[in-house]
Symmetry: C2
Subunit: 262 residues, 2 copies
DNA sequence: CGGGATATTGAGTTAGTTCAACACAGGTGG
DNA sequence: CCACCTGTGTTGAACTAACTCAATATCCCG
């Protein structure tokens, strides 16, 4: 049996929280991105009403916890986070990473209890929505309801891809795949500068995401970087030979279609 | 690199199809099960209208194909199927299994193109819904719209669990987990007789689901069966020591909550 | 009877794991 | 300012879970 990955979540449950209202949805910087679909004025007004505040969190904070429920749903306004599950002995699997524009806690509103945790990788600002208002969304704004289903279906799609990766790709392929995938996603929300993106996660996070041990993740990463198709130094990832990486990763879809932002 | 699992889908794309209307939703045998929530008369009437027919398929038939789109959504009325993805060189990952009451093809209605395939394991009867009618569901029946999101969130949950399994459980744990999981799901839709269920899949399917090779799957299964906590002979699975299996599998949730049936 | 799909088993190989040591950076308290 | 600590990254060595290859046994079906 594999030994648990002994990751200490550096900070204890969420520090510094601010619940002040700051960014009006109308001026949400994410809406400007061409990644997101445009809203009707009425929809926007509703979302404005739906949003009850913002939540600023430190890095390494646990936003939602496995086995607990939460009265809130969240959208990431800025920052990175990740969803994960752990086995009783501590082995951890990162399910996926969450970037600005991503929705968190849909399970909360559907099932009451979360079966995974969410932890931040950076300082993060979240838009907060009360789950008890969600029903009025379904009643009054079928377009937004459709969007919610769309969002859930999209996560499912990402998970499918991740599952294929963890189950059937070799370590090197997995590595190439995840780096490329995260690069594309970051790029889609405007986090890329040319072919560079700041990656806020550690090798331990990659290991837990890919289902590999830390040591082997390190060796695999080294081997991949030695190919010179990408660089990763001082927290910054740089894509050099996209085609070569895609080939290695068996990367097919682009997953970067137009999406809603609730 | 692992070699592709050379699985030949026995039958070519779907054989014998019958598109006659047979089971009125009102008398749907699945609705009788306590697993599914009750519908309002108006909802039922709508679903009746939404459903355009039934589709009877042979075993081993491909219902939906990766990279293609489909004008239909499906619900399984009877039979087993599975969703899967493949890499260019043929390595296959089974994403999950689908049982009666499960919804297929939500991705079709949200994204146009499927990124996974769906294949039957047994003779299967599917309820057919045209995707172009789905919008009226959102407009007129928020309750059903909510259900659709619920269904998508549930699949996500199952995938989370599956991902944890493939990424972090040992072969033996994976095996125990998947058998237990499928037993529970089959039981929930009335396919169990006492502690026995007919499992229609082969070891190759298990291998592709767990991310293991066929040979190792066989050896792992043998070793598990040698523990006498369950039996599997002539296609019938029998649960003997549930507690022991759960312990081995690190099985936690039950995933068998009340659900909608569209 | 022959062919195809499935299950089984043994033997050798390898990808990935575990253990252990060390290097480096940043942060803290004396 | 230094000593110390903790989180992160690196590397080598030994081990093992899982893989590949290959052969054989069944069974079902036409």
């Amino acid at each position: 049996m594999r030994s648990p990955s002994k990751t200490k979540s550096s900070t204890a449950p969420a520090a510094n929280k601010i619940a002040t209202r700051q960014t009006p949805c109308l001026k949400c910087p994410l809406r400007a991105l061409k990644t997101f679909r445009e809203f009707q004025p009425a929809e926007l007004e509703f979302v404005e009403w739906f949003k009850t505040g913002e939540f600023a969190s430190d890095e390494g904070a646990t936003i939602l916890m496995e086995g607990h429920s939460s009265p809130h749903l969240y959208t990431i306004l800025s920052g990175w986070a990740f969803r994960h599950k752990t086995l009783p002995d501590g082995r951890r699997q990162i399910l996926n990473f969450a970037l600005p524009g991503d929705f968190l806690g849909l399970q909360t509103s559907m099932f009451n209890e979360m079966q995974h945790s969410v932890e931040t990788l950076t300082k993060t600002v979240l838009c907060v929505f009360p789950r008890d208002k969600i029903w009025s969304l379904y009643e009054k704004f079928p377009g937004l309801a459709y969007d919610l289903t769309w969002i859930a279906a999209r996560s499912e799609r990402l998970l499918d891809e991740q599952l294929l990766s963890v189950g059937r790709r070799s370590a090197q392929e997995k590595m190439a795949f995840v780096l490329l995938h995260l690069f594309y996603r970051a790029q889609a929300v405007g986090l890329a500068t040319g072919n560079k993106v700041v990656f806020p996660f550690t090798q331990q996070h990659l290991a837990d995401s890919l289902g590999l041990s830390l040591v082997h993740t390190n060796k695999t990463l080294k081997a991949l970087l030695a190919r010179k198709w990408c660089r990763w130094k001082d927290g910054t990832f740089e894509l050099v030979d996209e085609a070569a990486l895609r080939e290695l990763a068996c990367y097919e879809g682009d997953l970067a279609s137009l999406r809603p932002l609730i």
